[in-house]
């Protein structure tokens, strides 16, 4: 990402900043957070309360998965009774109800099933360049959704081979996994 290029997040934030400074000026003159709709003039009240959503998620039953990522491995789970392999990993087999589910290391190669490029991004992803998301099938018969290291979707083809790399996601700086096309 070049320094001078504005991300979608920069643009979203600039727009919101402009809007809220307009709200502040209206508040100063009227004593109320009341603004006219830009298109219709209809009266709008701008919320004076704000909340941030940031969840804290329990991963204790599957923490091995995340610990293994840090060691460069991709783990799934397998039911000892029926043999079903799970990805994303889960420690309960709904088929067998009361069986034991063990950890297994998964192959880091796959066949591309489908893909897209996200051009209009959600706010919490708007600081990235357009990214390609794909779903690929592992030899173990489970599929893995991840970003594909490629900028141009027309260079990808359903059925092509990919390898999975454990990477650090930046700028957040945490381990995740990514598909890489095999030349």
């Amino acid at each position: 990402m070049s320094e001078d290029k504005k991300t979608q997040k920069d643009m979203m934030e600039e727009q919101m900043k402009q809007f809220y400074s307009f709200v502040e000026s209206m508040k100063k003159s009227m004593g109320l957070p009341m603004v006219p709709d830009m298109k219709t003039g209809q009266a709008l009240w701008v919320d004076q309360r704000e909340v941030t959503l940031k969840f804290i998620i329990s991963i204790d039953k599957i923490k091995e998965f995340f610990n293994a990522l840090a060691d460069g491995k991709l783990l799934g789970t397998k039911c000892k009774e029926c043999g079903e392999v799970f990805f994303p990993p889960q420690k309960d087999c709904p088929k067998c109800i009361d069986s034991e589910v063990e950890w297994i290391e998964l192959s880091k190669e796959g066949t591309l099933l489908t893909f897209t490029q996200i051009n209009v991004k959600p706010y919490s992803f708007a600081h990235y360049d357009d990214y390609i998301v794909g779903i690929a099938r592992l030899p173990e018969g489970v599929n893995v959704t991840a970003w594909i290291r490629e900028k141009d979707p027309s260079k990808l083809k359903i059925g092509m081979k990919l390898k999975l790399e454990i990477v650090k996601r930046e700028p957040e700086n945490y381990y995740t996994y990514e598909w890489v096309p095999i030349e």
Binding site: K39, L113, T116, I118, P122, Y123
Partner: protein, 396 residues
Amino acid sequence: MGENVAIVGVGHTKFGVRNDVNMPELAWEAIKQALLDAGLEQKDIEYVVVSNAGGWSSEPLPAVVIAEYSGLAPKGTVRVEAACASGSAAVKLAHDIVASGHVDIAMAVGIEKMNESPTPTVVEFIGRAGNYFWEFHNFGLTFPGYYALYATAYMSKYGATEEDLCKVAVKSHYYGARNPKAQFQKEITVEKCMASRYIAWPLKLFDCSPITDGATAVIVANEKVAKQLTDTPVWIAGIGHATGTSNLSKRTTFTSLEAGTLAAELAYKKAGIDMDDPTKVIDVAEVHDCFTIAEILAYEDLRFAKRGEGVKLVREEQTYIGGKIPVNLSGGLKAKGHPIGATGEGMIAELTNQLKNRVEKDRQAPIKNGYALAHNIGGTGHYAYITILSLSKPRG
């Protein structure tokens, strides 16, 4: 099976950016229409099911806010969520409460006020409608992105093109232009659609349904009440429902929605419709075209076309009035708009009006057999509800 249940009143607000009203005011517009249509008063409604996805709107307990404002309290109410299929889920529950004999009359109200939040927040919330932790949190899929995964797979397998997808949008806008309640009332061309920017490759702006505010209402009653209220009750002949995996990675195919296919089979069975060619019986359908590709998948999941041939219906314009089966004469989600929680009742209200021959003339389907079908998908095939309506009484 329970008692026969009929639709006795419907309401449908103008869809679009509705900054002229707040949530309960918007809901009231639809509730008022439905009450007047049925010839009922609030005291007659014994239970209210409110469908609303929410998150982007300010009221976390919309059912209660709406019940108070509309004079429906102190009757019982509940809010249901089945993502974009919430509305059909609400109608199903209202139906079940009546069919069970628990009450005589119930109402389903759909409401969504998406414009209470800025667009980036709305995109964020819809993108999370799948599996948050494994698919959104790390990979930032959006709602168009999820359907784009299906588009890429379908186009690759069956040779459909971006132009083909645009032809679906052209039809939606053609009928939207004839529906005064639609968000978009202007026709478009394939060229205009093709020139629009990518939202989630290969889907472009004109492949996508908009962010919409809207409210809808459907009143259902048992046979005894329905016959007192109207000479032309529209019966609920069958409802099919199914659930798909939350992780898209767990889907077994990307060229059809498994939940939609399964729900269709169930609905046809319940309504006694021949699955080999339902288009022989169904006069008109509303299908879940949140994206153009979704309409093509719906044709196939509903058995209007064989696998891989949904795109042929588009190329041959077989889903306009006069074709094999007219679909989305309201403009669909694409042009009429897609206020998530209100979409399902909106489809059912539209089809009730179609069956009663009371929509605008240039978008009225010819009613021959008296059957209509609403295909309502929540998320990306996460939820599927299919409701079949009929002018003839189902049983007894």
